[in-house]
């Protein structure tokens, strides 16, 4: 058995659309250690969600190989958690029932855990509320609690904090780091926020669009807890930003050499 829990090799994903073929991913190679925190960053449409769905087992129409604990991914499973880009709550269920999902709230330990996670995402008092009564950020926190409750080995997060205000967002980042450190969950975290990527990730994967591929991988060798104001943090942030700028203007970059 290798030390890497997730091995992605030469993965391509081509969508057939009425307008023709769209290559969403091309030649993706990524190896993730068990318990590693990976952040993925890249411009809109570069295939981040597509990659996450392949790892989740929701999308199996890809070329290449994806191994989780040495086994090819054949479909969704309970050890792979997913937080979608949108909350995706069941509109006919209250907050607590949404979090419990197919687990029964009549079980004492399920109820206790649901209450615990409601407190963690700071939604006390909204247990009996329906999704239509929640703000976008509150709904997303319910979705986060729902995924965390199941304590998966691998957690796939697709811009989970995009709809949150700055205060709630930094609180949720702390919560996520806590859970990661306590449970050694392997994290694959998509974001479009550079600060967030550097603050959370042990490695930042920078992606490029058309076709979606990995531009570079930047290790962030800073101990946790990290301080955004420290000079080493700022240095690494600038480094990633430079990589990111190359992504945004590839033509400009090659032109500069002449």
């Amino acid at each position: 058995m290798s030390a890497d829990t997730l091995i992605i090799e030469q993965v391509n994903r081509v969508f057939q659309t009425p307008a023709g073929k769209v290559t969403a991913l091309k030649g993706i190679d990524l190896r993730v250690r068990k318990g590693e925190f990976i952040t993925l960053i890249g411009p809109s449409g570069c295939g981040k969600s597509t990659l996450l769905k392949i790892v989740a087992g929701l999308d199996t129409s890809y070329e290449g190989s994806v191994l989780l604990n040495d086994k090819p991914i054949s479909g969704p499973s309970i050890e792979k958690g997913f937080i979608f880009q949108e909350p995706r709550l069941f509109p006919w269920l209250t907050v607590e029932k949404n979090i419990a999902g197919n687990l029964s709230l009549k079980h004492k330990d399920v109820r206790k855990k649901v209450e615990e996670y409601i407190a963690l995402v700071r939604l006390e008092g909204f247990e009996k509320a329906y999704p239509r009564e929640l703000s976008g950020g509150m709904a997303q926190r319910v979705a986060i609690a729902r995924a965390l409750l199941r304590n998966p080995d691998v957690l796939l997060l697709d811009e989970p904090f995009g709809a949150l205000d700055a205060f709630t967002r930094s609180h949720m980042q702390e919560v996520l780091l806590d859970i990661w450190q306590n449970n050694r969950t392997t994290m694959l975290f998509v974001t479009h926020d550079l600060d967030e990527a550097v603050f959370l990730g042990e490695r930042v994967v920078i992606m490029n669009p058309r076709p979606g591929h990995i531009r570079s991988i930047q290790p962030i060798d800073l101990p946790f807890p990290r301080k955004r104001t420290s000079s080493s943090f700022q240095e690494l942030r600038t480094k990633v930003l430079r990589e990111f700028e190359k992504v945004e203007e590839p033509e400009f970059d090659t032109g500069a050499g002449i």
Binding site: L58, F82, F84, R88, F90, P91, W92, G101, N102
Partner: protein, 270 residues
Amino acid sequence: MKNQQTAIRRTAEQGWLSFIPWSLHAWLVPVAIAALWQMAGGLGWISQALLPTPLMIAKQFVHLGVSGELWGHFEVSILRAFSGFILGSLTGLALGMSTGLGSMAERTLDPSIQMLRTVPLLSLIPLFILWFGIGEFSKILMISLGAFFPVYVNTFLGIRSVDAKLYEVSRIFQYSKLQLLTRLILPSALPNILLGIRLSLGVSWLVLVVAEMMGTSAGIGYMIQDARAYSQTDIVFVGIIIFAMIGKLSDSSVRLLETRLLSWRETYKG
């Protein structure tokens, strides 16, 4: 000057209306019409043989009720409509669910059902009488056929409009086949299913009346038909009022069920 006058009149009007409780406002127009109708009948403006006055209809209502005749017809009609409705809507639910859930069933069953649906139901009545006679069985079968299609079509539609994004969530959390059905598909399809049931109730009533006018010896429809033969217009009115009341009652009970079960919905309320 003129504007001022209309303004005064308007407040006067509202002042007059405010003496009557809100809940009774819907009754103002019917009561006014009934009063006018009664007056016109009483003064001999309209023939009472064609249009009996509200008082005469009410008297006949009480008379039929006390003699027990009304209840006999009522029972027969209710039993017919209800058994036809239950038979038809349950079949519609079962078949709608199987074609909705399985593409196999959809390919093989749905085209035939859709073809049958385009046949006007009432044109089948002579065939039903030829095959099954004019007995109870024939009537209930006719009603259930009418009740079948609205539930079938709407159940199918409801199942096919389940949000694919929520389906992905249920896959991530590894819902079992049964959980998928009871916790995602049925709740999503419920608004459509209830709509189908409401439409189906309406059709059941319609077919009931037609079936009862074709030839029977009991039922509200028969009572109407019989009274027409003897020009007892007031009894015809009693029958019509009963149909209207039951129709409204059954529709309201499904609506109540809707507001109870679908309170989670966020919709435009006018």
